[in-house]
């Protein structure tokens, strides 16, 4: 009996010893890829020192845009030969959405951020797409000094102008900024959207939002600018639409009763935006002024879901259309469009932002000295010229000085470009709560 126990004990001890040996023998060569459960396979040299990851929602109705965006980043890295100065850099595309939700998911964002922080090969992250997701990821990556550059986040409080208590410092527990964005924040869009409403002879605007971080933010920005009183507009009402509702006739009735002559849809098209537009059209008439921000900028989805009801609505997007791009931007759109099989003018504006974010990131890595904190040094208070979105500078908060918003006007099954607006600073300042 005793002897058998002894043998057993010996076996157990041997097992643990083996385990320890196994642990000791772990060869590391090149970058450690991020887990396959949320990220794509490594693109670029497998012996690369560093990884740049994109963090985007690859499922749901923004899929078309985000997939193209990942391709733009990959394109940019490939153009650079997967090198940033003296460092070789590989690329992985990570997904922060779940198919069930069809959009970004809080737990997924947090898990992804944890993965980036832990994987010491990750030197920078391009993302996120949704501001709500950024609110979760930025504090986590900040603690590890990991720089993020977003091509799409527009929520103001992430970088400046507190909308909520503790913003934006609460996103930077280390006190050092590690997040920047190459896209103009909602205050620009809110000001431009209000200006455009004014230009379209609206007098009283009903502001809707989808009760999402992004939609609520941009809707609030519009509301605040209008309430600022400089434009002579007024807010007829401010309310949320429920993405799960079967009909929005009730909202249409309310808007009609409020005497509004325009409606602003602050939110995402995938939150039942198609049905919302349909019911608004039905209740308010074919000529009623409907304006939506870049949450509706996937024109194909918007037009498909809303059908003929989308006809005549205005959609704003941060950034410039193809014809307004400088030569670098046009060159990018042509070259990139060729690789993904799109005409240059059809390249989604977000692809330009993605490529720009990638260029900023590569430039920062080149001068980083190979450390995460080194990357951040190359981002703030720097100017960037001849990027796919033109020339711009990032200030100490990580905000861009290029606040151009372009407008599109849906006609039939097309959404041709209408104009660009660069809102004056006095109006932008009104957007804060």
């Amino acid at each position: 009996m005793r002897k058998r126990l002894f043998i057993g004990g010996l076996a157990a001890a041997a097992a643990f010893a083996l385990a320890m040996v196994g642990m000791a023998v772990s060869a590391t060569k090149g970058a450690t890829p991020l887990p396959a459960s949320s990220c794509s396979a490594l693109q670029g040299p497998s012996s690369a020192q560093f990884i740049v990851a994109t963090d985007l929602p690859l499922q749901g109705s923004s899929r078309a845009q985000t997939i193209e965006l990942t391709k733009a980043v990959a394109f940019e890295l490939k153009q650079a030969g997967y090198r940033a100065g003296n460092y070789s850099v590989a690329y992985q595309s990570c997904d922060d959405s779940t198919a069930q939700a069809g959009k970004w998911d809080a737990a997924k964002c947090s898990a992804n951020a944890g993965n980036y922080v832990r994987d010491k090969s990750v030197i920078g992250v391009i993302g996120t797409f949704n501001s709500g997701c950024a609110e979760i990821e930025v504090p986590i990556t900040n603690r590890a000094g990991l720089q993020m550059i977003s091509p799409a986040n527009t929520y103001i409080g992430l970088t400046h102008t507190p909308a909520l208590a503790g913003e934006p410092q609460k996103y930077y527990p280390t006190g050092k900024r590690t997040y920047a964005r190459v896209v103009a924040a909602d205050d620009f869009q809110g000001a431009a959207d209000s200006l455009e409403l004014k230009a379209l002879h609206a007098k009283s605007v009903y502001v809707l939002n989808d009760k999402e971080a992004y939609g609520f933010g941009v809707a609030s920005a519009v509301q605040n600018v209008i309430k600022g009183g400089k434009l002579g507009l007024k807010v007829a009402g401010f309310q949320a639409w429920d993405p799960k509702a079967s009909s929005y006739q009730d909202i249409a009735t309310k808007i009609k009763a409020s005497g509004a002559d325009a409606v602003f849809l602050g939110g995402l098209e995938c939150e039942n935006g198609g049905k919302l537009i349909k019911d608004l059209r039905a209740g308010l008439g074919a000529n009623f002024l409907i304006e939506a921000p870049d949450g509706f900028s996937s024109f194909t989805s918007t037009i498909k879901d809303a059908g003929s009801a989308s006809n005549g609505m205005y959609i704003s997007i941060a950034g410039e259309p193809y014809q307004f791009l400088n030569s670098a931007g046009k060159a990018f759109a042509k070259a990139f469009g060729k690789t993904v099989g799109l005409a240059a003018a059809k390249v989604n504006p977000y692809s330009n932002y993605g490529a720009t974010a990638a260029q900023v990131m590569l430039k920062a890595i080149a001068g980083s000295g190979g450390t995460r904190s080194g990357v951040s040094k190359g981002v703030y208070n720097h100017s960037f010229t001849n990027t796919p979105i033109g020339n711009f500078a990032l200030n100490a908060n990580g905000d861009t000085n290029a606040g151009v918003i372009s407008f599109y006007h849906v006609k039939g099954s097309q959404a041709p470009f209408l104009k660009v607006i660069s809102p004056p600073a006095s109006l932008v300042a009104l957007a804060k709560p």
Binding site: K211, A245, K256, N272, K278, G307
Partner: protein, 363 residues
């Protein structure tokens, strides 16, 4: 040890002590009426719009609620999957209308109506079969099991049906072509009547009326079926006492299957109406709407057919008034909470529903 005094004066009277619950209920209803009256006075057009929207939504809820009530009446089972059967019905209809029959605006009535009736027939048969299959697989093998077991498989069935829709139709809203009334563009788009004037004018479209007009004959036919026909008698007998019904020579399994087919085809009909009137369906909408319909069924007294429709109308109205009215309405942010709040209050304080009768406890 024995207190004689207390034995002397026995409380031999009815235990009809003052019950605060009906009082609270009545005062709540009173407040509701006052609130509605003030809104009516302030914004009559808005009130009328809300009322008309409520009737239309209520009709759709009614058709779904009938399915819940039928199944609950016979099996005492909350068929969670019912809402998803309804959603599949909507999907089937949208697919048929836009891809098979290819209906669009400007087609003649003799093209549109046969196609719609054909779609209705296919959806009803399809959903009936789906519902019966669910019963066969998920409920029948568990008959006699503790009550909670089929409830759990009902949730399982609901998830499976949702995923079938997800796999075939994807995660986004599946839309139908629409016209200027917001309803399907091949339906008549004109107004039955308009009210109010100027910018505030409201209107009632033919499409809305058709929804209500479709519900009425379905309910009448159903009532006739359950109360007048042999099959209906078998259903009622099975609902009363399954064992006794079996002894009387009723094929209990077949009767239950029939009930599920019936409930499913009602869901199919509701699916069609939803498709042509609300014009877009997503894979996960059925569950939510099913819960609302279940609330309606409970509100009217579960197991009671006219009660289900009554409850559905009420829920439709409450939702619509809450969402549409301006004066001190909590607004659509709280609709879901209000509906579930009603469900909880009714279940806790009046589980037999508004139209139901108290049944012998444990009888």
């Amino acid at each position: 040890m024995v207190t004689e005094a207390r034995t002397e004066q026995l409380p031999i009277r009815r235990f009809a002590a003052i019950n605060p619950i009906p009082l609270i209920g009545l005062s709540l209803v009173g407040l509701l009426i006052v609130w509605l009256a003030i809104n009516l006075e302030k914004t009559p057009d808005q009130f009328l719009s809300a009322f008309l929207i409520g009737i239309t939504t209520g009709s759709v809820y009614g058709l779904v609620a009938l399915g819940y009530t039928l199944v609950y009446g016979i099996l005492e089972l909350i068929n969670f999957a019912h809402g998803d059967v309804f959603m599949l019905g909507g999907m089937i209809c949208i697919t048929l209308i836009s891809e098979v029959f290819n209906l669009h605006a400007g087609q003649a009535a003799y093209v549109v109506w046969p196609a719609i009736l054909g779609t209705l027939a296919i959806a009803m048969v399809g959903c009936g079969l789906i519902n019966a299959t669910v019963e066969r697989i998920a409920y029948r093998p568990l008959r006699g099991a503790p009550r909670l077991v089929p409830l759990i498989t009902a949730i399982a069935a609901s998830f499976i049906l949702q995923n079938i829709a997800l796999a075939t139709k994807g995660p986004n809203f599946v839309p139908l072509n629409t016209g200027s009334s917001g309803a399907a563009d091949f339906l008549p788009q004109g107004n039955v009547f308009t009210f109010g004037h100027g910018d505030q004018a409201g209107r009632y479209t033919w499409a809305s009326l058709i929804v209500v007009l479709l519900t009425v004959p379905v309910l009448t036919a159903l009532l006739w079926l359950v109360q007048r026909t042999r099959q209906g008698k078998a259903m009622r007998a099975t609902a009363q006492d399954r064992e006794a019904a079996a002894m009387m020579g009723i094929n209990v399994n077949r009767t239950i299957s029939f009930t599920f087919v019936l409930a499913g085809s009602l869901a199919g009909a509701a699916g069609l109406i939803y498709a042509v009137y609300f014009t877009s369906v997503r894979f996960d909408q059925g569950f939510q709407l099913g819960l609302i319909a279940f609330t309606a069924a409970v509100l009217g007294g579960i197991g009671n057919l006219p009660g289900a429709v009554f409850g559905a109308m009420l829920i439709g109205m409450i939702q619509s008034f809450n969402n549409t009215l301006s004066w001190h309405a909590p607004g659509s942010d709280w609709t879901q909470s209000i509906v579930f709040g009603i469900l909880i209050l009714i279940l806790v304080f009046r589980p037999e529903g508004l139209l139901g009768e108290r049944t012998p406890e444990g009888g």
